[in-house]
Amino acid sequence: MRKLLLLFLFLTTALSYGYAQVKTVTGTVKDSQSLIGLPGVTISKPDGTGSQTDAAGRFSIEASATDSLTFRFIGYTTQTVSVSDQETLDVFLISEDQALEEVVVIGYGTANRNDLTAPVTEVNVEDLTKRTTANPMQALQGSVSGVQVVTSGAPGSTPTVRVRGVGSLNNENPLYVVDGMFVDNIDFLNSNDIESMSILKDASGAAIYGVRAANGVVIITTKKGKMNMRTQVNYEGYVGFQNPVNMLRMASGAEYAAMQLAKGTRGDSLYVLNSIEQFGGQGLVPATNTDWYGELLRNNAPMHSHSLDIMGGTEKVNYSFGANMLDQEGIMDARNDYKRYNLRFQMEAQAFDWLKLGFTVHLSNSTLFAPDNGAFGLAYFASPLYPVRDANNTNAFPEDFASSTSIGYNNGVFNNPVAQAYYNYDRTKAFQVLPSAYADVNIWGNKLKFKTQLSQRLASHHKYDYTPEYYVDNTQRSQLSKLISVQDRYTNYIWDNLLTYTDNADDHNWSVLLGHSVREQRWRKTQASADDIPANEESWYVNLGTRSITGYEEDGTRNAGLSYFARGTYDYRKTYLLTATFRADGSSKYQTKWGYFPSVGLGWVLTNENFLQEQDFLSFLKVRGSWGKLGNDGINANAGYAVLNTGNDYSGIFGSIGLGSGAYLPGYTIESQFSRIGWEVVEEWDFGLDFTMANERLKGTVDYYHRLTRGLAFNRTRALRGGDIYGNFGDVANSGFEFNLNWADRIGDFGYNIGGNLTTLKNEVKDLGGIAYLMGGQTNFPVRIEVGKPLNYFYGYEVTGIYQNQSQVDNDPIGSAEGAKPGYFIYKDQNGDNVLDENDRTDIGNYLPKITYGFNMGFDYKNFDLSIVFQGQTGNKILNQNRSSRNQYSMMNGDAKFVTSLWNGEGSTNTYPSAEATTNGYTFAANSFWVESGSYLRIQNIQLGYNFNIGKEDKQTRFRVFATADRPAIFTNYSGFTPEITGDGVSGLGYDRNIYPVSATYSVGVRVSY
């Protein structure tokens, strides 16, 4: 092929030699960015004759000095160059993508950054790949204003992402659109798969996604080839080790024993005495000191990741291919790991000049061995006074684990944590296929285009949960082996049809988009369980054991959506900007079927005006404002009618007489309390400034946002019968400022940049439908929802100190009435009536951070570069529920800080109660002691890199080697494992029950690009 091309070139050159009254001009045509020679570029002269570049991009053409040469190449902007007296010409063609350098992906299209009227954040993908995280969203933590990412640290776990506060309590996560497909999370993607990521934060940007958009939209396009590009190969890989960071130290055996003895009861002392008797010790000091977390954790859990991309393109076809794998061991010293293999393939063909066809597919396979996190929970409770193994526990089998009953613990919460972890086998195998095909029809001169795209998500999870037969003690045993086998299947599709018209006349530019979208989402789950299953994995089928009568369950959902949408943009001289969108969304999920979501955005580029032409301090300044409505259908649907429950679980047993066993009589119950649920509607205002100044060194944006969520859906506690009822119960506003500033400069070989972002959040309940307040959360430590207050604030007594002596108790009417003793909390008498009652409860904090921020610094010198990212938040409160569990289980162990700080005499502390007080319910009235500040500052990531090239100038291979420390340190006063609280239900409201230590990852890696 190459030879033919050379021959052809030679012939054209030879033929044109006949007209040789002019000179020969030679040169190369290169890509303006990569500086790689472009083969096959058409060079034409005004008379219609011309030439082409060779494989290396070289050309040679006969031309006179008055000629101008036009260089044309698909995918690049055409360039015309005058020959004049030059004999060599080096031409740099600018790729179309690059020509639209500031092009940003927006909903169902792209836009020029300068023309946007909405605050759209384009994520720096380069930075994403620096983070050694299993999930691209984790990598985003701290780098985008208004986007709060909360991660739990467990392998394979999905982070919680909140855009601009909490618009919704249930599904807070934004909508992810990957190559046009709606997905709930992007756990299946590797950061290296991503070509661009845009975050639509406000109504003007997101309203085009209508009912799915209230929590913001993250649009991701994966890597794609381009027409006429040189084949590019990229490899990136790293090997790292994970270690628990900011590890919470639990009380040691001696510390725990001291607390138990200080409680002053025989029962509490007995644990200590029993331990000494059974496992040794002297006097009142037991010899046993089991560090349960230490026993459960492993150090230097390895993690490695590799990814390979190949992409390229010819004149008519382009493609990209990617493969990557991740292998991450968990930090629990038990079967606990996550493996993921991804394949990606994309292809696009210019079938006719008016028709482009494309196909993309993502295949993802993963295997997760989930640790039994319950074991960490047990480790928090477990007494350090008994060992892991005990040869005297002769009934134990198959392993000789020690029993907590041996020193007097009777309750299952004090079970042996190591045994719990050991007898766990919980594997989830998952695969996912995301195929997507489209046709792009150019109907009329690049102005009127039609695109239709069908995207699907086909996924399946299969989870095995096997418990072998074992015995530790009465409360920790499995007499029969048990298997639970769960399959989930997801089949979703979206079919989008888009008609776009773009045109301009004089200084007026406009575009119109009309769209139609159909989607369906189906989920179906099958669960079967059985007892008495053989131990070998090949026999793990429920029919090889005894299936329990209620051991077969199915569940599922099926939702459909139908949408029509439109967007119009108009600008005059790129200075006065207008964007308007409208979406009509139909959803099968709720009783109300249709919703309408309009938005309008306006922008004014001041730097295009004459009055700013005379200065060069400001190179760009735009003010913009937008308004719009968004919907959230991520909230649970309900039936909207009384539900009938039938089956064995709702059937009474009759005839259980004497030695005879009874039988079910078919029964049912009616769940008559329901609410009619609709989607939440968010109305948002946004005002912002975008600027670039000081010779392009300083770039920034400032935004003020105000989001009002109407019909916020949440759980409220049901009167009398307990439990919760879910419904659209209130209106809540989130407002605040977002700042983003970046300074970058270069002094000779030394370059540096400093950036920061900060978001403020004010959350306020606006309306509860006339009800004074609602209660939620946990009944013993409730949260309250009240108009004019932040949502779900912890409601309880304020602790002002500790009674130091008896006379202080006697002089306080509350203390004496409640039978308080020295060492007990002093509760504040809010209304001063000398009685402690419900009226003395108050707002003791709220789980939403008032400020979230991140800042980063980067330096480069010659081939070296260094970057550091910090991230933090302040103003939120956490209920430390691990500590307050002592209410129910007073003999539990605790964190060392708590156990060793307990009041033990006048003046010892004015903060912590006495050991004896921790056995008294008085201490556990919902109060401010158990609520702590969740502020923290974390060093998110440090990376040091070295870059070098190998090879000849036009065939260089670029290398980057790097060392990364991910999440190496955190600064916080919070006394739990991590101040990042995630989870469903009340965990999402700041109730910390997390017992999974967060780990830091240290890794080294290499990136090779050819």
Partner: protein
């Protein structure tokens, strides 16, 4: 270009197609839920469905009658049961026992748990009655057989609802009477007396609609019958009558218990010890029992009352024996002394399960189970919660598996009958002595009120429904009998849980 036109036409028409069927496309009922409307109320063979469902609800923990902490909440007060287990485990139960209605009790997690468990049953009972109304609407007016069945089923639901009101009022005193779920958010409290009167009225209306049979012989074996209702009525009436021998409510007690005795459908189960074992399930003595089953199979489904039995089972390492648990609800020294002093050997053997002195020694139970001691030195456990291993279905290992929970017994009817007679100046010996003879105690001639009350104390010792404490309250003897525990009338009932007062200010 022509091709392109066709493509466009095809695309356009497909758009029109999807749009035109959009109404059906979006109109989908929720998956995997059955609307209540799908019940065919004309199919009268399904009419017992909501009642069977209610029995099952009552047999569960939350809501239901048998959550382990609820046992502690309603039975720890009085002088027959101590909290048991280690001192600091659920220590608020001790504060409850010692009448400290302080912030500690007010904030104890068990308080609201117990409240919502009982009102949950009441809620579902009301739903059951509404369901039965819907079936009734479809019964032709001439179909007297089905109309009678409908009335009978309604009466069964009303019994469970009334019993739940009795229990919740025994714990909390003045509580709402809930017969209409529509007012669940704003219902107001009724006095203890009003609650008992409500129960009397309900049972008066229900008794004759119910089956004239012993529960074990009922059509749905173990369902409540006329006599269950009569006993419940008698119990409520005795609560109102209190210590006033002249109260007309003693006539109600006497009449109701006479009817039960005169029916000749009941007989005390011969072996008091075995009465509480698996063998004694739903015996000739049973007037209301909560039924469970492991279906006689060694593995697979086992319908159990949660941790009800384990809560009361012997603590410590039991070396693999199923006779094991957490050690709560320990028979008090007072009840042991009381039974010992009156020579009540059979009841003592039944009420107390002895364990070894330390972790290495054991005591063999009367049924031959080795009960090892424990590190806490607790040597006795609730014997009435004990089901011996040799009666269990082979392969099952959960303590109490396949046993029922006894609720109302014929002995209660006999003793109330004797009490009413004596209070009305008649001779109560016959009924009293039936109960005594069963446990090999000598008959008493000319029995006094004290004799009857002592007999009640011994007969119902350590059962789970707060019988002893209720007897002390209604006879006005709590002040003296419970002086050791600091009884005060002000704290005789537990406070309404804070969260309930927050949710409904009418309950403040």
């Amino acid at each position: 270009m022509i091709m392109k036109k066709y493509i466009n036409i095809a695309l356009f028409s497909s758009l029109v197609l999807t749009t035109s069927c959009s109404k059906d496309f979006l109109d989908r009922p929720m998956e995997n839920t059955k609307p209540a409307e799908t019940i065919d109320y004309t199919d009268l063979s399904q009419m017992y469905g909501p009642v069977s469902g209610l029995y099952r609800t009552a047999s569960k923990g939350a809501p239901g009658f048998v959550h382990w902490i609820d046992v502690g909440m309603r039975a720890v007060r009085g002088d027959d049961l101590d909290k048991g287990s280690t001192e600091s485990d659920q220590s608020q139960l001790d504060e409850i026992k010692n009448f400290k209605n302080n912030a500690s009790v007010q904030n104890f997690w068990g308080l609201n748990n117990c409240w919502t468990d009982y009102y949950g049953i009441i809620f579902y009972a009301n739903e059951t009655l509404l369901e039965l109304d819907k079936f009734a609407e479809h019964i032709p007016s001439g179909d007297s057989e089905n109309l009678a069945l409908n009335a009978r089923y309604r009466a069964e639901a009303r019994f469970i609802r009334a019993f739940a009101h009795l229990i919740v009022s025994r714990v909390f005193g003045d509580v709402p009477i809930l017969v209409d779920n529509v007012v669940i958010n704003e219902t107001e409290k009724s006095s203890v007396e009003q609650v008992r009167q409500f129960i009397i009225n309900e049972m008066e209306e229900s008794a004759n609609a119910l089956e004239d049979a012993a529960p074990r012989n009922a059509q749905h074996q173990g369902g409540v019958t006329k006599y269950s209702a009569l006993l419940l009525k008698a119990k409520a009436a005795s609560d109102i009558a209190k210590n006033d021998n002249g109260s007309p409510y003693w006539d109600i007690v006497l009449d109701a218990t006479e009817q039960i005795i005169a029916s000749n459908k009941f007989q005390l189960y011969e072996d008091f010890y075995e009465l509480f074992k698996i063998k004694g399930k739903m015996s000739t003595e049973s007037l209301y029992e909560i039924q469970y089953s492991d279906f006689g199979t060694p593995s697979g489904t086992d319908v159990r009352p949660g941790e009800f039995f384990a809560f009361q089972g012997p603590a410590g390492n039991q070396h693999g024996s199923p006779i094991a648990g957490w050690g709560f609800m320990k028979p008090s020294q007072k009840i042991i002394n009381f039974l010992t002093e009156r020579g009540d050997d059979i009841r003592l053997k039944t009420t107390v399960l002895y364990a070894g002195e330390d972790t290495e020694s054991f005591v063999e139970s009367p049924s031959g189970d080795k009960v090892y001691g424990n590190a806490n030195g607790q040597t006795h456990f609730n014997g009435k919660a004990y089901s011996p291993a040799n009666q269990m279905t082979p392969g099952r290992t959960a303590y109490g598996s396949d046993n029922n929970i006894r609720v109302l017994r014929y002995a209660d009817a006999l003793l109330l009958n004797a009490e009413a007679k004596i209070r009305k100046g008649q001779n109560g010996d016959a009924s009293l002595n039936l109960v005594r003879e069963r446990v090999d105690l000598d008959p008493i001639t000319g029995a006094t009120l004290t004799d009857v009350l002592d007999e009640r104390r011994a007969e119902f010792a350590c059962e789970w429904w707060g019988e002893r404490y209720n007897d002390l309250l209604r006879t006005g003897t709590a002040q003296t009998a419970l002086a050791d525990y600091g009884f005060t009338p002000a704290a005789q009932y537990l406070p309404v849980p804070q969260i309930q007062k927050d949710l409904n200010p009418n309950l403040r």
